[in-house]
């Protein structure tokens, strides 16, 4: 079991990385978006490995399903098929960015490589049960009720903001 999950994790991890790099690297926006879909699916797989079934499903439905479809529609509507316009030179800044990212990665990996004792949470539920939609739902409307509710304000704000920024009629009401 251990080896199976290790092999699966490695495979999915590699997919996530391929997906992310492909998203940034690809010049065609549609390809880019499709790589992102790959990334989301692989990530969903990793969630499954961690026995977070609900999150995995949500990841696929919301991101890969809803958001990506919207992305692709937008790309197609905007007709962004001029690959030359999107072509970026590999300049100093980009190289510097990659270098810094690498330094940060090495740094964090090094620190995490040091021996760290992680605290153990005591719970009556098995890991499989924690990941169930029922239990997450229960958490959300008991312990996490307040954040759950207050996020609605965030969404409301997003709606209002989007309307203000995208409002067609630009004559203000008084």
């Amino acid at each position: 079991m251990e080896t199976v999950s290790f092999i699966l994790f490695s495979f999915l991890g590699a997919l996530v990385m391929v997906g992310s790099i492909g998203t940034v690297w690809s010049r065609n926006p549609v390809t880019s978006a499709l790589f992102l879909v790959l990334n989301f699916f692989a990530l969903g797989g990793i969630y499954l490995l961690l026995e977070a079934q609900f999150i995995a499903v949500v990841q696929v439905i919301v991101y890969a399903g809803a958001i990506m479809v919207l992305f692709l529609f937008t790309i197609m509507l905007l007709n962004l098929d001029d690959e030359q316009a999107l072509k970026e030179k590999f300049d100093l800044q980009k190289g510097f960015g990659i270098l810094l990212g690498g330094v940060l990665l090495v740094e964090v990996l090094y620190i995490l490589g040091l021996k760290i004792n992680l605290p153990q949470k005591s719970t009556t539920l098995t890991p499989v049960e924690i990941g169930e939609a029922k239990n997450i739902g229960r958490e959300l409307i008991t312990n996490f009720l307040f954040p759950f509710e207050i996020v609605s304000i965030l969404l409301l704000l997003a709606v209002v903001g989007a309307i203000v920024l995208a409002k067609k009629n630009f004559s203000p009401n008084t």
Binding site: V108, I111, L112, L114, I116, N117, L118, P119, Q120, K121, T142, N143, F144, L145, F146, P147, E149, I150, V151, I153, L154, L156, L157, A158, V160, G161, I163, V164, L165, K167, F170, S171, P172, N173, T174
Partner: protein, 476 residues
């Protein structure tokens, strides 16, 4: 969700309900003036609520922590919100963006800040931060037809999302390292166990998020561009209340992990280095700015540096000084931006030299602006002096005299660029006849000036509030 929780968290309950009311009214009545009035009423009710002592404790199962601390902070936010919207009205009308939604978004931003100041759980803290940030992104870009404003909003959004990512990552690492998301439980864990390097990475990442919001060096570079491009009243809110919110949240976090940061020379060194850099870079860069909004942007960076000195001091005196300074700074900066907005909307004038001869034509307006400038410089008897004095005195008490000296030196430099504005207003001839015709002094500005002055000569009451806020902040 018991009724008790709702009552305990009354300010937040109220603000949430009022937000919904505002949206409904705006959607049905579609009258910006009405929305403005209702938003002001909302702010006024919040301010009044904060003036009365109320029950303290945890609400919603340790999600919120209501205390004199959050009360003081909420007071600052609501006051800033109210002042900003009263100064916005004519500006928005002039720029043809007088939407009722503007006020709603300001109100929601304030709600986000209140969540940050009252958060007892890192999830709430993050949601509060995001509510505030997203509201500010919208406010920055509300002048949709203005290219600069679009650029500003875009930059702010991209970099803000970038830093929020770090912030969230930090939260998850701290959760991983301590197994807790509730701040005081993290504190208990850290008292009983030593901090792991995982925790330190998490804390550093969270700090990056905070330092970005308060625009500390080297996370500051977005500030001048965004402040310059955004509509001036939005800038006023960004530079004051949002910073105050970030500081109050920062204090909450730092206080709960104080068992690790107190007397930790690494922590103190890292933070004081940032404080020094922030004060020095902010003040020196401000020297060569001619555009007043950019100048005030750098000056707001410098002021974040002064407030960081209070955080580095790490004592109750330091934190209460930060609270007090947040109040005074919000007032004087909103005032200064208010004057700029007033002149900008009439005459499109934003550089210091354009203010030449303002005293001759609009003596009261020039006097008010001079008062803000002097207070920002930290000249007695204005509020800014008391605030700075408290901050630096706290540093001295914590054995960081050198930091206080750097602060005093940096603010000596700042006198140059603040007084340059005064020189132009009082000691130069106007560039053209009737340069400032049509500029009408907003009475709110006089009120703010009066408050800044009163906070300078009768600061005791407010200082006591700030001190008590700290005393009862986290002793439960």
């Amino acid at each position: 969700m018991a009724l008790h929780d709702l009552l305990l968290a009354l300010p937040i309950t109220f603000a949430t309900l009022w937000t919904i009311l505002l949206i409904v009214v705006e959607a049905t009545a579609k009258r910006a003036q009405l929305t403005f009035s209702l938003t002001s009423v909302g702010f006024l009710i919040l301010i009044t609520m904060m003036l009365f002592p109320s029950e303290q404790g945890y609400a919603f199962g340790e999600m919120l922590r209501l205390s004199p601390y959050s009360q003081f902070a909420n007071f600052v936010f609501a006051l800033s919100g109210l002042l900003v919207i009263t100064l916005s009205q004519s500006y928005l009308a002039k720029e043809n963006i007088h939407f009722g939604e503007y006020y709603i978004i300001v109100f929601i931003a304030t709600l986000g800040m209140m969540l940050m100041a009252s958060a007892a759980h890192m999830v709430v803290l993050f949601i509060g931060l995001e509510i505030m940030s997203i509201a500010l992104y919208v406010l920055a870009g509300i002048m949709r037809k203005d290219l600069r404003a679009n650029e500003a909003a875009m930059k702010y959004f991209l970099l803000g999302a970038f830093s929020s990512g770090f912030f969230l990552y930090g939260i998850s690492l701290i959760y991983g390292a301590t197994g807790e998301m509730t701040l005081f439980k993290i504190g208990i864990y850290l008292q009983e166990n030593s901090a792991t390097s995982l925790f330190w990475i998490g804390l550093s990442l969270m700090m990056v998020g905070f330092l970005f919001k308060i625009s500390a060096v080297p996370f500051h570079q977005w500030t001048p561009d965004v402040y310059e491009g955004s509509p001036t009243p939005s800038t006023a809110l960004m530079s004051t209340a949002s910073k105050a919110a970030a500081f109050t949240a920062l204090i909450t976090v730092v206080l709960n992990v104080s068992s690790q940061t107190e007397n930790n020379s690494n922590w103190i060194f890292a933070l004081s280095t940032i404080a020094v850099l922030t004060m020095v870079v902010g003040n020196i860069a401000a020297l060569s700015q001619d555009n007043l909004k950019r100048m005030l942007a750098f000056s707001s960076i410098a002021h974040a540096g002064y407030m960081l000195v209070g955080i580095v001091a790490g004592s109750d005196a330091g934190y209460s000084a930060v609270l007090y300074y947040a109040l005074v700074y919000s007032l004087m900066n909103i005032g200064a931006f208010g004057v700029i907005a007033l002149i900008e909307q009439q005459r499109e004038l934003t550089s210091a030299s354009d203010y030449a001869g303002l005293f001759k034509e609009k003596p009261l307006l020039a006097g008010v602006m001079a008062l803000f400038m002097l207070s920002l410089t930290g000249i007695p008897p204005f509020g800014g002096f008391i605030g700075k004095y408290k901050l630096f005195a706290a540093a001295v008490e914590s054995g960081l005299s050198w930091l206080a000296v750097v602060g005093v030196l940096a603010s000596a430099v700042s006198a140059y660029y603040y007084l340059r504005v005064v020189v132009f207003m009082f000691m130069r001839e106007p560039q053209a006849e009737n340069q400032f015709e049509g500029v009408v002094l907003n009475p709110t500005l006089v009120l703010i000036a009066l408050l800044v002055f009163l906070l300078g000569i009768f600061p005791t009451g407010m200082l006591r509030f700030a001190g008590e806020a700290m005393k009862f902040a986290f002793n439960m």
